[in-house]
Amino acid sequence: MNQYEAALFNDKKFGFLIYLFVEAIMFLTLFATYLIFTPSSEGPHPSDVFETKSVILSSIFLLSSSGTLIMSERGLEGKQLKKLIPWLGVTLLFALVFLGLEISEFYTYVQEGYTLSTSSFLSSYYVLVGLHAAHVAFGCGWMIVLFIQLKRHIPHSLYIEKYKIFSYYWHFVDIVWIGILLVVYVRYIF
């Protein structure tokens, strides 16, 4: 990366950081919403709804995907595709597993009669966790684009830029998940 590219990259980093700040405020507002409405006086109590197993399992996959992404990032310097591609693939796989678990979790809850409109607690739960899941899904699409970009022979400095921005996004999404674990689940599971 020459000086010129580095300067533009810094613009992008700074801009994306601000974007993540905006996202953080979004999630904080939703956390506040959840705290206000949970537990609600009518409808089920959170501890009756949540299923420990699926929460733990999905957490393991999502949180370790941050680790696998870091492994993959090591292949970025010097363009070691043998490191980069498989680890990015694993990250994508973990993310997809997480999504699958989320969907099945939501599906189970709905089957049990706990829907979006059952109570204000469930409303705020689905809106918060659902928005996070949407972020994971978006990230999956992003990873696929990153795979395709590899085949496209764009300047490597540009690829690094794109990749790094994605990795900030992905780690951020993981941090939000930790927040969700602490605020949404842990208090009512353990």
């Binding site: 020459n2 979006l116 409109s117 970009q149």
Partner: protein
């Protein structure tokens, strides 16, 4: 009139709107075809350059301003006399008109016109060649455009929202307003709000990373400072609003239980709304403060009095803006402690504002005041704004607010502050920066007519409203009785409103003849002080070649005083890469189509449009404008 497509009776105001839009459309189309201006339209649809995007912001902001202004005239016509029945603006229609007036003015007129001025002026003031992310800038603008157009469409389909610009729950939930009307509000504001956030982000990065060499933060013009701090306010405030609207959307579409039902909390909406809504007032006011500071210094031929204090007070106001939202909710019954705390924080905001007023006055002291149109607007601002500020302090007295709240006194107060700061500021900004935008200077004589008509009309409209309110007229009511003592003041207000209307018409005429005359002016028509007056008028796409070096505040002024040119450097700086693209236009408008699909339950349309939006993301990822500039080794930048 019964019209088959609408499958219902169509009221005459909607027909009038369709007819007038079709006529204007035909006139415009003939003009475009005759003059062969298609290329210009195509150019502006694809542009990412800051001046052009700024121009677009101004044009459409002004258009929506006119629309919302007509709404205001309709309101005032209905209220002119007791038990009046003007056209059909009673009941539902009246409710729709004041909702549209408020929403349009705040979201689609005032905010975008300020963003337009920032777009034009901020990069030029700090020596940046463009905003940091030109593509994102276009996205931001087109999102505003799409949201505004979507919101406007509501009226043409006779389904304008009628929930007030504050959209208080539970009235705004599907329980009480099940029709699409309120959805237009939710989606229109949501989309344009997203655009505002992106533009704010862009301005922050630009100001932090693209200043000319030597342009330290404490050497920046105050408009740039105000824009920077405003942008931070936008980031937080509009995001909270976005979540509020997001929750409301879920309540309306998926029957969630946030704002109604036994556990839902309508007050929660008010908290979210005012955590946005109060900072929004400062989002509107602070950039205007910045503009006035720059204009007053220029036309007093003196540097600003107490520059550090000015910067600090902008910052303090911005910080305090987030601590006062409950003063919109004193009558909600949050208890004496909460009411008191927020009364005190509200009062505190008067202090930094007062500091600014006195600093402006003392900037003028000892100067030579040239009474140009921008200066007149700035001078008109000071006493008018102080009057609005003073009623603000009166409103902060929480127990007294029990009487003022939601009466015409409040209407008078916020029109006093917002018109004095934002609207007069925008007018001043338009006259001041018109040469930088178009290369022409607006007619000064007409400008003065505009100023006096508008200022007199403004005071005539809103001063009596204080009394109307204290005589017991609640806001958002469409009539009153003969014996209530409200007739005289209401009638005067109506006269004033039409005077303002005439003032704006004069301005419109001024814009028209100035653009027609095509008399070019030089780069520095006002004898300015800051960097924007060193580049040609209109601002060229490759500004600041070579790049000036800044060694003090108001560098251009002091260089002129010494009879020197600004020192420049040939060193290549990394500047933003701007390349025309139609993607922002498509993406934003597809988002509006998506909302349309969701509102009317045409899921196929929503899915299609949603897929289109994601396609735009992907195309954009593969057509990055940086591709051709990267990977050129150490001196890769020579081609830029």
């Amino acid at each position: 009139m019964y019209i088959p497509f609408f499958e219902k009776h169509v009221p005459s105001d909607v027909i009038a709107a369709w007819v007038s839009v079709i006529i204007i459309g035909i006139v415009l189309a003939t003009y475009v075809i005759k003059q062969n201006k298609w290329s210009v339209i195509w150019e502006y649809m694809r542009t990412t350059h800051h001046r052009k995007v700024g121009t677009l912001y101004m044009i459409f902001g002004f258009l929506f301003f006119l629309r919302a202004g007509v709404d205001a005239l309709l309101i005032r016509s209905q209220l002119a006399l007791p038990q009046n029945e003007f056209w059909l603006f009673q009941f539902q229609k009246y409710n729709e008109v004041f909702t549209t007036h408020g929403t349009m003015m705040i979201f689609f007129a005032a905010t975008p016109m300020l963003l337009g001025l920032m777009n034009v002026a901020v990069p030029l003031q700090i020596g940046a060649r463009d905003l940091a992310f030109p593509f994102l800038n276009a996205v931001g603008f087109w999102l505003f455009f799409a949201g505004g157009m979507l919101f406007n469409l509501a009226f043409f389909f006779d389904s304008a929202p009628a929930i007030g610009w504050t959209g208080y729950a539970p009235l705004s939930t599907s329980l009480f307003t099940p029709d699409v009307n309120s959805d237009y509000y939710v989606f229109g504001v949501q989309i344009s709000g997203l655009g505002t956030i992106f533009t704010a982000l862009n301005i922050i990065v630009t100001i932090f990373r693209h200043r000319a060499p030597g342009m330290k933060l404490m050497r920046m013009p105050l408009f740039t400072w105000a824009s920077l701090i405003t942008s931070f306010l936008i980031l937080v405030a509009f995001t909270v609003l976005a979540i509020g609207l997001y929750l409301l959307m879920f309540d309306r579409m998926f029957d969630t239980k946030f704002f109604n039902g036994p556990d839902g909390d309508p007050i929660f909406w008010q908290h979210l709304f005012w955590i946005f809504g109060h900072p929004e007032v400062y989002i509107l006011a602070l950039p205007a403060f910045g503009l006035f500071s720059d204009i007053i210094t220029t036309f007093s031929k003196k540097r600003i009095f107490g520059y550090p204090a000015m910067v600090i007070s902008i910052g303090t106001i911005a910080f305090l803006a987030f601590t006062v939202w409950v003063h919109h909710m004193f009558t909600v019954g949050l208890g004496p402690l909460v009411n008191t705390v927020f009364a005190l924080t509200t009062m505190a905001i008067a202090v930094p504002t007062g500091v600014k007023v006195f600093n402006w006055l003392f900037t003028m002291r000892g100067g030579v005041l040239r009474m140009t149109t921008p200066m007149l607007f700035s001078l008109g601002f000071i006493p008018s704004f102080v009057m609005g500020g003073v009623t603000g302090v009166m409103l902060s007295v929480s127990a007294a607010d029990f009487q003022f709240h939601d009466s015409h006194f409040v209407v008078a107060h916020f029109h006093y502050v917002i018109l004095a700061s934002t609207i007069l500021g925008i007018f001043a900004g338009i006259y001041y920066y018109f040469p930088k935008i178009t290369g022409y200077q607006l007619n000064e004589k007409l400008g003065k007519w505009h100023f006096w008509l508008f200022l007199i009309g403004y005071h005539l409209t809103f001063f009596p409203m204080h009394i109307t309110g204290m005589n017991g007229m609640p806001r958002r009511t469409f009539t009153y009785d003969v014996g209530e003592g409200l007739t005289a003041t209401n009638f005067i207000s109506t006269i004033g409103a039409f005077l303002m209307g005439i003032g704006v018409a004069v301005m419109f005429y001024n814009l028209f003849i100035t653009i027609r005359k095509k008399e070019r002016v030089g780069s520095d028509p006002w004898d300015g002080r800051t960097l924007e007056w060193t580049v040609a008028s209109p601002a060229p796409e490759d500004s600041f070649q070579p790049m000036p070096i800044v060694k003090e505040m108001d560098p251009y002024w002091y260089a002129k005083q010494r009879g020197e040119d600004l020192e420049t450097t040939d060193e290549k700086l990394a500047s933003p890469i701007s390349r025309d693209s139609i993607i922002p236009f498509i993406m934003a408008n597809l988002l509006a189509v998506l909302s349309f699909g969701l509102m009317y339950g045409w899921i196929w349309l929503a899915v299609l449009a949603g897929a289109g939006v994601f396609m735009c993301f992907i195309i954009r990822a593969f057509r990055d404008e940086r591709e051709q500039y990267y990977g050129k080794g150490e001196d890769g930048h020579e081609s830029v």
